[in-house]
């Protein structure tokens, strides 16, 4: 491994030179971990696994990380991450589908314990019936626990979001875990161009004393709230303490937004802001939406793209502003429940204009034609059905 030098966070994320590589999403995530000065990674080979955590293991073998092990199961992995972060280390793990759900109790308690860890979520079907393909319903389970949830469209996003997440999660006014989600297989196993910072530069190490809740390391007095469950005082105390603590967690979550602006160029991306019809999407669906918008523009249709990068905190203001004149908002998704469509509906006044279609699930691909059909329908354009098979 090359000797890595620590550079300022802002320099690495915003100014450092970039080199273009053609790599998979899993490689992009590992390349970000390589540059993030991570102390420890803990992994479980849940079915279905991507090679992300193998690559991170290789990083440890090469000396980029100080510790790494294969955990007994996801609950153990996520709990050990909590232990390592409370001990003052910078920690990373990644999981998918069933593994995420198995570890969910531990993960859902990270924000309340103020655990600034980074979690890769490489989405797959949640059983049953069993499929191991990329369906992203699992993201909906993450949306209500207080952690920051980012959704990456492609390999470049995976690299940028992951690297920035280490910095954002440890900001004193945030100090929360961040999930970097992307579709398994479509992004993790496929290659794309990624502009990466130099391999010999890394983020500054974690300073666990720059924190709203100190580490438990016998170097500094511990935070009473963490050790002493309020429930054992009285029910009255426990609900009051839980209330104010969770209010602070969610306020901290909202404060992540300014860093999403600073390091990730904002929570949304818009193409053709004056469009009559918008396709609003996140993750892999945004890539297909982007393609549909390009087709539509080639056909002279006034269609725009709203890509949402940050699912939690949700960019309510930005989404409302972008969609204020939209006649129709098409929301393609890789899951059956339509969590993004629901979130958009809940955040705009003209929610009747939201079309929660097309949805593919079980891990099917999302053909651009399906989005085009919705665009034609929204614009009242009649097209002959073309039967492909």
């Amino acid at each position: 491994m090359p000797e890595q030098k620590v550079v300022e966070t802002d320099y690495l994320l915003l100014e450092a030179p970039r080199e273009r590589k053609f790599i998979t999403g899993s490689q992009a995530m590992a390349e970000a971990v390589k540059r993030a000065n991570v102390d420890i990674a803990i992994a479980y080979p849940i079915t279905p696994q991507s090679e992300t955590m193998h690559l991170v293991g290789d990083l440890w073998a090469q000396g980029y990380l100080k510790d790494y092990y294969r955990a007994e199961e996801e609950y153990g992995a996520m709990s050990a991450i909590a232990g390592a972060v409370r001990g003052g280390a910078r920690a990373f793990t990644a999981t998918s589908g069933p593994g995420l759900l198995r570890g969910l109790e531990a993960i859902a308690s990270w924000p309340g314990h103020r655990i600034p860890a980074v979690l890769g979520v490489l989405t797959r079907v949640v059983n049953a019936p069993l499929s191991i393909q990329p369906d992203n319903v699992e993201i909906s389970y993450l949306m209500n626990c207080g952690m920051v949830v980012l959704h990456a469209e492609n390999q470049q996003d995976v690299f940028d979001f992951t690297l920035a997440s280490f910095a954002i999660s440890e900001m004193v006014d945030v100090y929360l875990p961040i999930a970097v989600c992307t579709e398994g297989f479509f992004v993790t196993h496929a290659k794309g161009y990624v502009n990466m910072t130099p391999e010999d530069m890394k983020l500054p190490p974690r300073d666990p004393y720059k924190a709203p809740v100190p580490p438990t390391d016998c170097e500094i007095p511990p935070a009473r709230i963490q050790r002493d469950a309020p429930v054992q005082k009285s029910n009255f105390m426990s609900y009051l303490i839980h209330q104010v603590w969770q209010q602070e967690v969610w306020s901290s979550n909202m404060r992540a937004m300014k860093y999403i602006y600073k390091y990730l160029n904002g929570p949304i991306e818009v193409i053709n802001p004056d469009a009559e019809v918008f396709v609003a999407a996140s993750g892999c669906a945004a890539a297909q939406a982007r393609e549909a918008v390009r087709y539509a523009q080639m056909e002279g249709l006034n269609v725009g793209l709203l890509k949402i990068k940050s699912i939690v905190p949700f960019p309510s203001k930005e989404v409302r502003e972008t969609l204020k004149n939209a006649k129709a908002i098409i929301v393609p998704e890789h899951n059956i429940v339509g969590w993004l469509a629901k979130e958009i509906k809940a955040n705009i006044p003209n929610s009747d204009n939201v079309i929660g279609r097309p949805r593919v699930y079980g891990g099917m691909t999302l053909p651009v034609e399906l989005i085009m059909d919705e665009i034609y329908a929204a614009l009242g354009i009649k097209k002959d059905k073309t039967v492909l098979v």
């Binding site: 153990g76 232990g83 390391d217």
Partner: protein, 288 residues
């Protein structure tokens, strides 16, 4: 370094609560105390909300008085009775999700080893039979398989006491408890043999009848875990409520169980034996 954070900054003595001043002046920090001096020192844990006559509360007192380096010790617990007293002590305590202790301790100990390679940082799990042998079983076993360097102490009250008296894997066969209305169908899990098989370097089993011996056992388990690998102590800490043991009979019950199935048992690897002999010799020399 631990001592630095427990000490009171100069000039602040008069503003600190008397309890804390006493703890620093007359407590265990930075000293080796004999467990029989317990009534002459300011104890790390003094108040707790556990039931009258609870033998687990007694054990927790002895446990804290036995720590070889309380100022550099982190205790982990889980849902259950023990954490009610554990969390009241002047020692950092981590309370996570139910049954997660040995996974959290694995991550914690590794983080501390990365950050402080040359310092002693003792990590000790004190959790119940339900937390360690039922819900957290896989994580307990795998922390041992992985040879994680921390101590696990199982305070076995043979029941889910805190949730209202349900059967646990450590309840004796035949006992009628909630969720076992027809009596428990299988034997107590043999935790001691599991610990030996899974790679613990020091394993002990005891009923808390002899405080000097408890203290020695706890010190040994913590010292061996520092250097060599996982250690385990299985302690009988009866639930006088769920098992209807009259308060004045609690000690007699422990003595009876000691005679029957909780006789003092200690096992260690040759390496641990050699290491502990050497350490104990050093400690004896330091005393004289």
């Amino acid at each position: 370094m631990g001592l630095e954070y427990v000490k009171i900054s100069p000039g602040f003595e008069k503003y600190m609560p008397k309890d804390y001043v006493d703890l620093v002046k007359y407590g265990q920090f930075g000293k080796q105390i004999d467990v029989q001096q317990i009534d002459q020192i300011k104890e790390l844990v003094e108040e707790h909300p556990m039931c009258a006559g609870c033998y687990m509360a007694y054990f927790v007192r002895i446990f804290y008085a036995s720590l070889p380096k309380p100022e550099d010790t982190i205790v982990l617990g889980t849902a259950g009775c023990a954490r009610l007293a554990l969390s009241q002590a002047a020692v950092p305590f981590i309370y996570g999700n139910y049954g997660d202790t040995n996974a959290v301790a694995s991550g914690l100990k590794r983080a501390l080893s990365i950050r402080f390679p040359d310092k002693i940082k003792d990590v000790v799990v004190v959790a119940g039979d339900g937390g360690l042998m039922d819900i957290g079983f896989g994580m307990t076993m795998h922390s041992w398989f992985r040879r994680e360097k921390f101590t696990t102490i199982m305070v076995d009250n043979e029941v889910y006491g805190n949730t209202g008296g349900q059967e646990s894997g450590m309840s004796p066969k035949g006992v009628q408890l909630k969720m076992a209305p027809k009596g428990k169908k299988f034997d107590k899990i043999n935790a001691v043999e599991l610990a030996k098989t899974a790679g613990c370097v020091y394993v002990a089993k005891l009923a808390p009848t002899n405080p000097k011996r408890i203290a020695k056992t706890i010190k040994r388990a913590i010292l061996a875990a520092r250097e060599l690998g996982p250690t385990f102590i299985h302690v009988y800490t009866s639930c006088n409520i769920e098992y209807s043991i009259p308060t004045e009979r609690v000690l007699a019950d422990a003595k009876e169980r000691e005679k029957n199935d909780f006789g003092f048992y200690e096992w260690m690897t040759d390496e641990a034996k050699e290491y502990l002999e050497e350490q104990e010799k050093k400690m004896a020399e330091a005393k004289t």
